[in-house]
Each structure stands twice: as C-alpha cells, then as structure tokens.
Amino acid sequence: MNIHINGQAFTIEHEASINVTAALKLHFITAQQSTFAVALNGDFVSKADYDTTRVHNGDSLDVLLPIQGG
C-alpha cells in the first residue's frame, strides 16, 4: 500500500493497513518525542490512539511541530 507522510510517499509491502505508530516509524518518528501532533486525512489523532488507529492505502498523515507565529 502507499501512504503519504507530510507529503512524502511511502510504500509498505504485504500490509493492508498499519497503525499510526508504525507509520510514524517510517518517518523515523517515535511517540516518545512529545512535541508533535498528528492528523490522519485531516482529522486529529490523539497520542492515546496511535496504536489503535489504522492507516490504509491512499491515506495521508500530517506531522506538525511548533514554529514561530503571529
């Protein structure tokens, strides 16, 4: 299956879906890094739900971090 993380394409072989925790590892992100938050296809996924939320073919994850803002 193919997914996107922050616009970058990833291909995962032999899986119909993976959980958010596994998807983040593709981007070298572990849940222990506290200063980020995740949206799946535009919907917020809380940290508590990373293990139970499934990412399917065609899905997009956004991983956001703090930046300066006005």
């Binding site: 949206a39 535009g42 703090p66 930046i67 300066q68």
Partner: protein, 264 residues
C-alpha cells in the same frame, strides 16, 4: 492595571508574535523587552528529528518560563472551519492549553478572515472546551455574534496582517468598543507604529496583539520597549479621560490683565 484573558490576570496589555525576527536570540530579547506575557506561535509540517524547529520551541518555552506567561497557538493557514478545528486539537495536545487564536482566512490577497467559517469554527471549538480568541474583521455584527457564541475575547483587525497600515477604520473600532462594553477587545494585526497601539488603548481597547511592527523594525528590541510604553500611555490616557474636542479656540493662558491686554 492588568488585562484579564479567560480569567487569567496579565500584567501587560501587549500580546506579541514570535515570527519574522532576524534571529531566535533577537526574538527572545524583543519579547522580553516588550514585557508581554502572551506569545503567539503556530504549527507546521516538520520532522521531529529536525533541529531547527526544536530550537525555536526551546526558546519559546524559556520565554514563557521567564515571563510566567502563556502561549497562544494560532490556526494560521486554515481556510475552513474543519481545518481550524483539527489544527486547534493538535495545538492543544502539544501546548497543553485551551487558549486559541482562531484564524480562518477567506482571501489570500489581504488575508481577510472568512466570517462564516470563523463563526462555524468558533461554535465547534467552544463546544470542545476551547477558549477562543477569534481574529476577525472590524465588523460590529460579526463581533457581536462571536461574543454571543461565548468568546470573552474578540480580536478585530486594525488592517490586514503584516501591512503596518495602522487603524484603517477608527469609527468601526470605536463602535465595537461602544457596543460591546463587556467584551475584552484586543486589536490584532496591521499595527505599524507605537502610536497605532496608543490610539487603540485611548479608544478603550483592552490590549493589542502585534508581531511584524516589532520583528521588522530596524531595532526590534528598542521597538518592543517603545510599544510597551505606548500601550501604557494610551491606557492611562483612556482612564484619565480625554477632553472633549471643541470647535473654536480657547486661550489656555488667562487673558485678563495680560500685558498689552485690550477689551474688544
């Protein structure tokens, strides 16, 4: 005299942004010089392993600790209520605050807020427990609707973001103040000069939120100090009670028995 935002007492009436400074060091110095206890920030796509974003985040945490202040995440870049609600929830998880500077932009040319999406987002976010500080145009009815939805703080623009044009429509802003006496009104966006901030405070506004005016100054730290003083001057002017304008001249020096005085 302090500013109250959703029950929190703040010693400064200035809210300040963290973007566009020449360096993180100057950002920190300028924010501290401004005496502000509320710093705005945002979220964007990044990999947590990249160091640049982490450095800014560390600086902002230091500032908040040093000022005993508050972070005010914004929803910059959102164009729909759905996007803003998602971003708000992501911000709350990261920053552990219910405060939210709600921005929902309806036009890319002047970054004008979309009033319909703004109201939709506000309603949803208040239902989710957020304490919403909506960035909006200087439309009285829109401000009234936001207040009716439960926003204790309303933030009409002075002029479009980043223009530095100051108060485009003083009449509109004065009318909002007059008609919403119980709302906490913070003038947000378009401030260019310390005198703009002073004018807002003289109108009875409760505070000012700005970023570019300090960050893009030749000397951001000095400009931050100037804004701190301007807000205090404007507030004291408002509290002291500005004299009424008069149509004709009145001598301030008594004329009776002045040298060469003539009775006409």
């Amino acid at each position: 005299m302090s500013l109250t935002i959703y029950g929190e007492q703040l010693s400064s009436r200035l809210l300040i942004g963290s973007a566009l400074y020449p360096s993180p060091q100057v950002m920190k110095q300028a924010i501290l010089a401004s005496e502000s206890q509320v710093v705005t920030l945002s979220l964007k796509r990044q990999n947590p392993n990249e160091q640049a974003g982490q450095q800014i985040w560390q600086y902002l945490q230091e500032i908040v600790k040093q000022t005993k202040g508050y972070l005010l995440p914004n929803t910059a870049g959102c164009k729909t209520a759905k996007e803003a609600v998602t971003l708000a929830k992501m911000s709350r998880e990261i920053f552990q605050t219910d405060w939210l500077k709600l921005e929902v932009i309806g036009d890319d040319y002047n970054l004008q807020p979309d009033p319909i999406e703004l109201l939709n987002a506000t309603e949803q976010l208040i239902a989710e427990g957020f304490k919403v500080l909506p960035y909006c145009t200087d439309d009285l009815v829109l401000c009234q609707r936001l207040y009716d939805l439960g926003c204790q703080v309303i933030m009409p623009w002075a002029s479009p973001i980043g223009t530095g044009k100051g108060l485009m429509n003083p009449y509109n802003l004065e009318t909002i103040r007059l008609r919403l006496p119980e709302a906490t009104l913070i003038l947000d966006a378009g401030i260019g000069k310390p005198s703009d901030a002073c004018l807002a405070m003289e109108m009875g506004y409760d505070g000012v939120l700005l970023n570019s005016a300090v960050a893009l100054a030749d000397n951001p730290v000095m400009m931050a100090k100037a804004f701190a003083q301007a807000l205090k001057a404007g507030e004291q002017g408002y509290v002291a009670g500005v004299m009424e304008q008069r149509q004709t001249a009145h001598p301030s020096t008594p004329t009776l028995d002045t040298p060469f005085w003539h009775q006409n």
